[in-house]
């Protein structure tokens, strides 16, 4: 686990109740996990900056960083509690509140972390339509069916820092679609036998 001394220092020095009251702490924790799971902040940050906005900001930044790091390294509840109380001087109630929140959001944060990175475009859906060619400039006879398939993929765009949808379009004849379906089903079959095998 990589948690710099700077973050530890920020977390430790903010334990003074005069600097960050318990109510503010609770709201900051709620905001922190909302952001990490990809939702909007629940409380307006401006309302949380008391007379010491710099300290609140610093603490909030540290909170976000260490929370992500905890999940990234897959730390258990106990390890997190241990770290906060011994290395950052968190009081027991504050530690408990944090641990309770992180456990609730763990899966969400894992999903967000999983989505970061330059993986291949991820296939999520397929659209199709069936066409018949009635006539063309070179052939007078009807032909078909012709399948027009559009595979919808999601890709993480590093520049925009969000997911982008992209379509892969192609056509195929009955036989070719049969071939494609057969191959996909083969992969599905493989997944399910593997699944049964593990269970």
């Amino acid at each position: 686990m990589k948690i710099s001394e700077k973050w530890k220092h920020s977390l430790t020095s903010s334990q003074n109740i005069n600097l960050i009251p318990d109510a503010t702490y609770k709201k900051l924790v709620e905001n922190c996990f909302a952001v990490l799971t990809g939702r909007d902040e629940i409380h307006s940050m401006n309302s949380l900056y008391s007379s010491k906005p710099d300290i609140v900001k610093e603490f909030y930044a540290a909170l976000l960083s260490v929370s992500a790091e905890f999940v990234r390294c897959n730390l258990t509840k106990e390890e997190i509690a241990q770290f906060l109380t011994s290395s950052c001087n968190f009081t027991q109630p504050r530690t408990n509140l944090f641990v309770e929140h992180i456990e609730k959001s763990r899966i969400g944060i894992e999903a967000s972390l999983l989505n970061i990175g330059g993986s291949l475009p991820h296939l999520t859906d397929a659209k199709w339509k069936i066409d018949y060619i009635v006539k063309s400039n070179v052939v007078d006879q009807p032909e078909g069916p012709l399948f027009r398939v559009s595979l919808i993929t999601e890709e993480y765009d590093a520049e925009a820092q969000c997911k982008k949808l992209k379509n892969v379009n192609f056509t195929c004849t009955s036989q070719e679609l049969q071939d494609l379906v057969y191959k996909l089903k083969d992969a599905v079959r493989h997944c399910s036998t593997l699944h049964n095998h593990i269970l």
């Binding site: 999940v71 990234r72 390294c73 897959n74 894992e110 972390l113 999983l114 970061i116 990175g117 993986s119 291949l120 475009p121 991820h122 296939l123 999520t124 859906d125 397929a126 199709w128 069936i130 018949y132 009635v134 063309s136 400039n137 070179v138 052939v139 007078d140 006879q141 009807p142 032909e143 078909g144 069916p145 399948f147 398939v149 595979l151 993929t153 892969v168 379009n169 192609f170 056509t171 195929c172 009955s174 070719e176 679609l177 049969q178 071939d179 494609l180 379906v181 191959k183 996909l184 089903k185 083969d186 992969a187 599905v188 493989h190 997944c191 593997l194 699944h195």
Partner: protein, 203 residues
């Protein structure tokens, strides 16, 4: 069904109707050569000298044969229809036998070329492999099943066929969904509604 040719097209083919069988066979060979390698003026000149006609006449005759072939393919003439069409043009029975053989041998090739008149990416192949992602920079411990796929698409263009490989991945849930969705498309194409439309179009 008989095909009707333009009068100049008929004129171009007239040369052959009066020639002996061997000449018709040779012209079919010239036409085959044209299909494979494009026009060959040298051979046309030799043929013109032998028949004692202009090079233009020979060339037009070869082009006429090709055009006849393309038109017949366009209308998907059956063997009997092709025979009748050729006989109406004034060819003898023997000539017709040679031309029918010529049509029969090249029919599939022409259909294949005509099939792809509008160039769009066409499915060619799909390769897949099953993998498990166990770690990444942003999440050190994980077990994420993934199916990586390579989709090969082929596009016909003037310079030949272009193949394009697209790398994709998906998870088992989405894979099942997509396989089901495409299978649905396939079964829909065999449904009563689709068959009814198919029948209506072909008759």
């Amino acid at each position: 069904m008989l095909i009707s040719l333009r009068s100049d097209h008929k004129e171009h083919l007239q040369l052959l109707t009066t020639q002996p069988l061997q000449v018709v066979v040779d012209f079919c060979k010239l036409a085959l050569d044209f299909l494979q390698n494009g026009p060959n003026l040298k051979r046309y000149t030799t043929a013109a000298q032998k028949l004692e006609v202009d090079v233009d006449v020979v060339q037009n005759c070869v082009f006429g044969l090709i055009n006849l072939l393309i038109l017949s393919c366009k209308h998907k003439l059956s063997e009997a229809d092709f025979r009748d069409s050729v006989l109406t043009l004034g060819f003898s029975q023997e000539h017709q036998a040679v031309l029918s053989k010529f049509y029969e041998s090249k029919q599939n090739d022409i259909h294949r070329i005509n099939h792809i008149c509008i160039n769009e990416p066409h499915y060619e192949d799909l390769k897949w492999r099953f993998e498990v992602q166990v770690s990444s920079r942003s999440l050190l411990q994980q077990v994420t099943p993934l199916i990586a796929m390579e989709l090969v698409l082929k596009t016909q263009s003037d310079n030949g066929t272009e193949k394009e490989s697209i790398l994709l991945q998906t998870d088992p849930n989405n894979l099942l969904h997509i396989a089901n969705e495409l299978e649905h498309a396939l079964s829909e194409s065999r449904s009563r509604h689709s068959r009814k439309i198919q029948r209506a179009l072909t008759h």
